[in-house]
Amino acid sequence: MIHQYQLNGYNIVLDTCSGSIHVVDEVAYALIAGYKEKPEEQLVRETLAAYGHLDGVNEAEIRACLVDIRQLEREGKLFSEDTFEPLASQFKEKNQDVIKAMCLHVAHTCNLNCSYCFASQGKYHGERALMSYEVGCRALDFLIEHSGSRRNLEVDFFGGEPLMNWEGVKQLVAYAREQEKLHNKRFRFTLTTNGMLIDDDVIDFCNREMNNVVLSLDGRKEIHDRLRVDYAGNGSYDRIVPKFQKFVAVRGDKEYYMRGTFTHANPDFTKDVFHMADLGFDRLSMEPVVCAPDDPAALTDEDIKIVLEQYEILAKEMLRRKKEGRPFIFYHYMLDLTGGPCIYKRLSGCGSGTEYVAVTPWGDLYPCHQFVGEESYKLGDIWKGITNESCREDFRSCNVYARPECRDCWARLYCSGGCAANAYHATGSIKGIYRQGCELFKKRIECAIMLQIAEKDL
């Protein structure tokens, strides 16, 4: 299977199953498009009629190009077959009970009152609560006990607003550091925060201990303050931006990223991305809101058309700024073409409900942070372990081939079947298809590949 598209002056051909990427001229583009559909003589005749007026295009050249296409096909770099289906369940079967990553909900409460929050202002449709030290330690022990031979373990401090349980976070990091020596493990910590409680202690500690910090900012002041307000209704932009700038200035080369959400109010979200870049932030992410279609924040079909154009605008502006010596990273455009994930990872997806779980302040286990509060998706708890085996089996069987629509999708080995939570919230099933998400994802991958090509200046 191949995917052909034209973007920013490039004719691009992606071979889905080998991962090969080809940049071609218009003659090769036309020949590849008709290669499997038309008899060779007809293809040569039609291509000559369409492009024979161009310099260097004659019948011999067209036939020579067909030889090159055939050679690429023989090498498995064009029209390669999908032979991966038998591997799809192997990765999760091999690692059947291994858990290596955990989202610790240290605070089911928040000091902001954002109407679009998937976690219902941090409470996840339940009671306000902070995770105790005892529950946190037991959760970390549970992770170590279930990590098998995995050395790298990941813990995300999440909420709500995790800084509302800041002393708890620091104590749990100290406990984990003791345990990792005893068990030959390596913890990687991350923290997601709205920034309201950042102070020098938070900055110093995070820059020492957190491998990554996710800082929530929606971009322009009028956009950010529209939805990210405190309980008195006051916007938070002026209070958090100076803190974020100070945080990032002393973070050095450690990872961070600004994470915004765009809604019906700003489908022209690139203005918010560029605003954040102009504030001095250079690792950026802006995500489409996921909510009920009748929510005022929901993106409409008209919005989606704008958003698709915006992704192209973003890619072109990134190239321009890079040439000017002021580059920034957009998370969805990061592609490592030679060191990316192996086929097993690409087939099996994010690992929610299998190797990744979320833990509530009470020690209950869920497949991921976006399922917390959905009682039917409760997997068990950190004392008894996973008791809802049918739910876990449902997640274990989630892979690229679990949805008929994905089998015919050129992007399947990049999206790995997509986000189970988004599918569930959009369709009621974790194996449903969140079509809006698919459309946006495919455009992002097209742009990301184009950026790779442009940076190699082919």
């Binding site: 940049v23 690692n95 190797e355 082919l458």
Partner: protein
Amino acid sequence: MERIKTIETRNLCESAKNGGCGECQTSCGVANQQCEKAKD
């Protein structure tokens, strides 16, 4: 005349031979990840 330029990518069929070690970071997408072994 060179009409097709192929850029260097990791061949997905080749990567299948490694069996998947599971040490890479969890994702929330897979496409943007790096292989832990490739990083080393």
